[in-house]
Amino acid sequence: MQFPILSVIVFIPILSGLLILLMPGHRKDEIRVTALAASLIALGLSAWAYFAYDIQMGGYQFVEKYDWLPTLGISYSVGIDGINAPLVLLTGIVMFTGVLISWGIDDRPREFFAFLFILATGVFGVFVAQDLFMLFFFYEIAVFPMFLLIAIWGWKQTREYAAMKLTLYLFIGSVFSLVGALAMYFSSGLNTFDMQLLATANFSTNFQIFWFPFVFFGFAVLGGIFPFHNWSPDGHVAAPTAVSMFHAGVLMKLGAFAALRVGIMLLPEGAIYWRWLILGLATVNVVYGAFIALVQTDFKYVIGFSSVSHMGLVMLGFATLTREGLLGAGVQMFSHGVMTALFFAVVGMVYDRAHTRNIPELGGFSTRMPWVAIAFIVGGLVSMGMPGFSGFVAEFPIFMGVWRVMPIVAIIAAVSIVITAGYIIRITGQVFYGKVPEPLEHHNIGDVTVLDKVALGMLSAILIAIGVYPALMVPLVSSGVNLVLSLLGGA
């Protein structure tokens, strides 16, 4: 038997989380080291799975399947393909850097890391799940710890409100998808929750058209699709830094990924029928999100709304149902995950030192913490879709795909690039350059720690690496897209 690498990736976080819960709460350093070790293992294994995936062979690899509840056709079944392999890697990266950046958390770090790791298990589980029931199981596991993480360690002013809003939004979305999933299960008559088999069930067109919105939009809530995006900026802002990173970097991909995996891949005719709606809503996401980001004065809200805008690009890519669009969306999920994790890390570092996120009150930070300034600029260039950075590799194919389907949408959506450039440049100028404002002079703002620098350096390096050498990711995602296209009727 081969080494069950995916299962180990899925269960390492939760097991180490439980281990951490058993440690005495006052031994904070031991807890942190355990957390770091666990996340390093998870990162290493996910990187291994990513690079060991055989692109020539394609399909699902590292497959493991065990019966869970055979009477109802539920199994524990995992595997990766070109679409989810990058997302597993992304989760590993964000988990590792998230631990590095949360080193300074002093209020109950034991519970913090335990909850964060339970969340991580949920995320890994969803990404690798091949069974619909299992996907839901892990999806819900990923939703709940968010509540506590935001409510306990979040920003005091809005945390209760934001945590409750986020949890309820996501729960509502997921239970609607659940009903759709149950309908698929019963109407297929196959007595299985295995998604590869369900994909062959040939649901009737009417069935697909009726249930697609339940499933797709239920998940897309977590992907931040307009008009259900409202929880996301509030949640991002209220969450502590590592949780924002996880949240915007990984969780929103969870929604988008599940919408693709369950919605589009299992109900392709429904997807074709509703694609115009998704296209329209996603365009609103892209443009509206960018505009709102432009007028925010709170640093973290700017990034929060930029996430809404960029996730809109992912949805836009899905809605094209073309090779280019899906490829771009696949890369964008990874690229945006790393980029936004980087952004939130930067915001957290600035806030920790300045104790304000109000942009007009900030300034001159490049002199105090050059690493952070450079990292932010790298993220900003990715965000604008500059060639040489991963954002370009992702966004260019998306716009190509959209152009093929509906050029006018491509033109409208492209406006967002200009707006994005606007807010990125504005922040760079106001926060990192110029003069340090008078009140902050006395704050004695120092540079970030070595651990922070490692995290920032790693995230930036990945963004640049994908940008200058797209072959690291594009062929892989492309092989995954083949499968989606074959389900869509080989378009």
Binding site: T71, E111, F144, A151, E160, M164, T167, V175, L182, F186
Partner: protein
């Protein structure tokens, strides 16, 4: 004169009841022998004895695949009865552990005696094959529970609770008895299974039969505290000693479901298909009212009372679906719910014993005071809310699945909207526990060993029912198979 031959099967069928009687006798003797200050030890003995009965029954008292009617048609020996009996025994054992350190409860032999007798009644309820035994069993369960609810005679609320329970219980059981007598009048037999055959021949008019259905549902609805027979629940739950409340809201409710499933499914289905609509109305009303009233509660026990009304509604979804999957889902749901709600009440007792308060606001800062206890509370509440990897999630998924399977998508959607409301108030409590600070944070919150043991068992049980699934679901399907 009827020839009466005793066979071994007859005794195996009532093995748990025999065990309970023996245990009750032991309790009576010990109550006399032990000095007052050492009587709490009876809690360990009763709990251990009950677990012993469970183990013995599982090895020696299992029914065969063919259901049997024994004791002159009084007792039905099948998997449905057996599995429910195990659930009751477990619930009683945990209740004994929760009660033993409560003053004026755990050191009194009467408490354990009444608990055991009520449990025996529940076992007979689940196994009753005849209306007469059914009625007797319901009363055998109810009367000790009335006393238990009013056990704290020095406290006004407890007395009030006992009386309220008694009045409501007597009223509804009289109505139900009237329904039984009508059934006998129409069919000329009291045996549930003979009744079913006669009703199915169509000799009984549909209108009178529908009337009987409503009358009988009054009694069952009271037992499971479904709306509109729920009025007693919040007051009784609040006033009764908390371990008793836990028992009332879990084992007693499960017993009500066992009877409801057997009678409704055996007697009514063929001739009166509209019974599912009546139950669907009860289900929707229970979920909606229970959840919306729970939103406004400030007292933990009242919150759990309304939540337990809502949970009766969720479980009824499975009954409405009227399929093997639906019934298996109900059994699973009740099992998981029993573990979960007992854990919740266990935390409430442990907290009340030290602080003397049941107000939600007083739970502030609990996570700093007693991290383990908070964790147990969180697991229990998340399971109630239906979050994986906990038992409540699987239970909910199964009942919703049964509803979707039976083309009752609207009912599944009502259930889902309700579970969102539920999530909100469960999270509100968790917020108080984990987020709010209080001045009492530094005060220790000692938890005696019996709570630790019981809560660890329950928490593990909740997680196991939420992750292992298959073995528990197999019990559910075997129990359900006894009904079809």
């Amino acid at each position: 004169m009827i020839e009466f031959n005793f066979t071994l099967d007859m005794f195996i069928a009532i093995l748990p009841e025999i065990g309970l009687l023996v245990l009750a006798a032991i309790v009576l003797i010990m109550d006399v022998i032990l000095p007052r200050e050492r009587r709490r030890v009876m809690g360990w003995i009763v709990a251990g004895g009950l677990f012993g009965i469970i183990i013995v029954s599982i090895f020696a008292g299992r029914p065969g695949m063919e259901a049997q009617l024994l004791w002159g048609g009084m007792v039905r020996f099948d998997w449905l009865a057996f599995i429910f009996k195990m659930i009751f025994l477990f619930g009683a054992a945990v209740t004994a552990l929760f009660a033993m350190d409560v003053d004026n409860l755990g050191n009194r032999g009467e408490f354990y005696l009444l608990l055991l007798v009520a449990t025996m009644g529940m076992g007979l309820m689940a196994a009753a094959g005849d209306l007469i035994l059914l009625y007797l069993a319901i009363e055998t369960t109810s009367i000790p529970l009335y006393v238990l609810a009013g056990f704290m005679t020095k406290e006004k609320k407890s007395t009030e609770s006992g009386f309220k329970y008694l009045f409501f219980g007597a009223l509804t059981s009289a109505i139900m008895l009237y329904g039984f007598s009508l059934l006998y009048g129409f069919a000329g037999t009291t045996s549930i299974y003979d009744l079913a055959a006669i009703v199915q021949q169509g000799d009984v008019g549909l209108v009178p039969l529908f009337g009987v259905l409503l009358l009988v549902l009054v009694g069952f609805g009271f037992k499971i505290s479904a709306v509109p027979f729920h009025f007693w629940a919040p007051d009784v739950y609040e006033g009764a000693p908390t371990p008793v409340t836990g028992f009332l809201s879990t084992a007693s409710k499960a017993a009500g479901f066992a009877v409801l499933m057997r009678v409704l499914l055996v007697v009514f289905p063929e001739s009166l298909p509209s019974w599912t609509s009546v139950v669907a109305i009860l289900s929707v009303a229970s979920m909606t009212l229970g959840n919306s009233l729970a939103l406004a509660q400030r007292n933990m026990k009242r919150l759990l009372a309304y939540s337990s009304i809502a949970h009766a509604g969720y479980a009824l979804i499975g009954v409405v679906a009227f399929s093997p999957l639906g019934m298996a889902a109900v059994v699973y749901y009740l099992g998981a719910y029993l573990l979960t709600n007992l854990a919740a009440f266990g935390v409430v007792v442990a907290f009340w014993r030290v602080t003397g308060s049941d107000e939600i606001a007083d739970y502030a800062g609990l996570s700093r005071r007693a991290p383990g206890l908070s964790l147990a509370l969180m697991v229990a509440f998340l399971s109630l809310a239906g979050m994986p990897p906990l038992g409540g999630f699987i239970g909910k998924v199964l009942v919703f699945a049964a509803a979707v399977d039976a083309d009752l998508i609207w009912l599944a959607l009502v259930g889902i909207i309700n579970s969102i409301v539920g999530l909100y108030y469960y999270l509100t409590v968790l917020k108080v526990v984990y987020l709010f600070r209080s001045e009492d944070e530094e005060k220790p919150l000692p938890i005696s060993r019996s709570y630790t043991v019981a809560l660890v068992i329950l928490t593990l049980g909740i997680v196991l029912t939420g992750t292992l699934i298959a073995p528990f679901f197999a019990w559910g399907t075997t129990a359900a198979a006894a009904l079809f």
